[in-house]
């Protein structure tokens, strides 16, 4: 099993054993989060309040099984602990809690909060004259929320060039039109780019390129993703949005991930 399939299995296990969690949402962003932590972000699992760390916020908090799997993989806690997902006294809930999970910078869940929180942190870094970067993943469904577009204006006004937003465009939101988000964010005055949200080489290259651009503008990359990526029956299948597999399906999934 390759690394990304191993992380996918961690995600599936969390949801299978707890019958909780948003499985396809997590599968759709696992590549993005994995590359951010492996190739981009500065962090130290042994020093959570490290002054020089970058901040990552999962604004679409329901994708958190992916975040938990990666945080375990990079050493914030033992992978075994993921088995407690959504149990009564677990630190891992269906949305991430910064006061429980080492490495989680902001508690999210209600959509449209994580991005403006990220703006606040990015502004604070400017005030404190620190070079730390802020990375936020939002969803295209989440982009229904007005605070996303409030933030789009405010971040541009404040010239938050230390902020990179990744839009997880999985096109699953039931009532959303297929917006040209690159054009929209560009019209808000952001530096905008597009990428395949599952191509590791492209994710790393484009994120690094964006962060390297000398501009005062905040930056956004539209990541074209497939909700449920990596598991055939779930890919782009809305039935699975908040559902856990039965035993037979679970066994088939494990076969697929081998």
């Amino acid at each position: 099993m390759d690394k990304i399939n191993s992380l996918r299995k961690d995600i599936v296990d969390m949801v299978y054993y707890s019958s909780e969690g948003h499985l396809p949402s997590a599968l759709g962003i696992i590549d993005l989060i994995y590359i951010l932590y492996k190739k981009i972000l500065r962090f130290d699992p042994k020093n959570l309040s490290w002054d020089a760390r970058d901040y990552f916020i999962l604004s679409k908090g329901h994708g958190c099984p992916a975040l938990y799997a990666v945080l375990a993989d990079v050493g914030f806690f033992n992978k075994e602990e993921l088995k407690t997902f959504c149990k009564f006294d677990s630190m891992f809930g269906g949305h991430p809690d910064r006061n429980k999970v080492p490495g989680v910078e902001a508690s999210t869940g209600s959509l449209g909060h994580g991005l403006p929180i990220g703006l606040g942190i990015a502004t604070a870094m400017k005030i404190l004259k620190k070079p730390n970067k802020v990375f936020v993943i939002i969803g295209d469904g989440e982009s229904n929320e007005g605070t996303i577009w409030e933030s789009a204006q405010v971040a541009r006004n404040l010239l938050l060039d230390n902020l990179l937003v990744i839009v997880d465009k999985n096109k699953s939101q039931a009532y959303s039109l297929d917006y040209d988000y690159k054009k929209i964010w560009t019209s808000f005055g952001w530096e905008a780019e597009e990428m395949d949200g599952h191509n590791h080489e492209e994710i790393e290259r484009k994120v690094k390129a964006m962060m390297g651009i000398k501009t005062a503008k905040p930056k956004v990359i539209i990541a074209n993703t497939v909700k449920g990526k990596g598991i055939g029956i779930m890919e782009n299948n809305p039935e699975w949005h908040h559902k856990s597999p039965d035993e037979e399906t679970y066994k088939k999934i494990l076969e697929e991930l081998k």
């Binding site: 902001a106 929180i117 606040g120 005030i127 933030s151 204006q153």
Partner: protein
């Protein structure tokens, strides 16, 4: 009170480097000196209170002390969920300073009133609700609480009260005995303390001796003071420029409810919108918040003994 807020921010900006102001497109002119002196710590975020509140929590997460400032309904009710999730649930501290609470913007109508700000803010864990109604109270209470790790809501009324309260007894979380009495306790917040004092002077002539407790900190409430007075008088009337559902009256009732044998009465804004216009005093009168109505209410309570 807004002038004192402006003065206080200028003073505190110099003393506390972590203090950052986020304004919702108000007081920008008033705060120009702060902005001039500390340009990197003043942000006119614009007319987007929800994002402004979340941003403030992000600043707090990064170690700063935000002061979020706008008109009361917009900086409490409109962004209630941001206050709940991003400050209270996350367990980070900060400050909200509102102007234009209750019906201070009397002529602007109900969209610019709030009678429920106290109720909703006090309902959340990790909050404090402060209602300073003199410049000195604002200064003292802000300095005592602005960096204590809680989300502290300062409700600044347009009208100041005129009571002479010695600075040494202005303490966060502590009530102030304006006048001793034995027949009934008036627990009052905000500028209505002046009407309570006038009513009490009138009642004295009728042989009714009312005790007046002035509350500038609604949460945490000064339980001991309230209980001690209620045990003495057996009757408590709360008076406030806020909804009687969930405001000061509710907080006092929570304290006294378990004692038994205490009569509880409330004056404030009832279960309605105040759709009239006019001046502040007009709306006080139409809400029964003046000297005469308070005196009448107390006469009827005492007469029913």
């Amino acid at each position: 009170m807004r002038k004192e807020f402006v003065r206080l921010m200028l003073e505190m900006g110099g003393k506390e480097e972590r203090l950052v102001i986020l304004a919702g497109d108000i007081s920008v002119f008033g705060l120009r000196e702060f902005r001039k002196n500390y340009p990197e710590r003043f942000y006119n975020i614009g007319i987007c209170e929800q994002s402004m509140m979340s941003m403030a929590s992000g600043m707090a997460l990064a170690g700063l002390i935000p002061v979020v400032h706008s008109i009361a309904p917009f900086v409490t009710e409109r962004c209630f969920e941001q206050i709940k999730d991003d400050f209270c649930y996350q367990g980070v501290g900060g400050n909200i300073v509102s102007v234009g609470s209750a019906f201070d913007y009397s002529g602007l109508g109900c969209t610019h009133h709030t009678y429920s700000d106290i109720a909703i803010l006090r309902s959340l864990p990790n909050t404090e609700v402060v209602y300073p109604s003199s410049p000195k109270e604002l200064e003292v209470l802000f300095k005592q609480s602005f960096d204590n790790g809680k989300l502290t809501y300062f409700r600044l009324p347009e009208r100041k009260h005129t009571q002479q309260i010695d600075e040494s007894i202005i303490k966060f979380g502590r009530g102030v005995v304006i006048k001793d009495g034995i027949d009934i306790t008036i627990v009052v917040s905000g500028p209505q303390v002046d009407n309570a004092a006038k009513a009490s002077a009138t009642l004295k002539k009728d042989g009714i001796d009312a005790e007046i407790i002035y509350i500038h900190t609604i949460k945490p409430m000064d339980k001991e003071l309230i209980i001690e007075s209620a045990r003495k008088t057996g009757k408590v009337l709360t008076v406030e420029e806020a909804s009687i559902r969930g405001g000061l009256g509710d907080e006092v009732s929570m304290v006294l409810g378990e004692l038994g044998n205490i009569e509880m009465y409330r004056m404030g804004v009832g279960d309605k919108f105040i759709t009239d216009y006019g001046k502040y005093d007009d709306l006080c009168r139409s809400s029964g918040l003046n000297e005469e109505e308070i005196a009448n209410k107390i006469r009827s309570i005492v007469a029913n003994e």
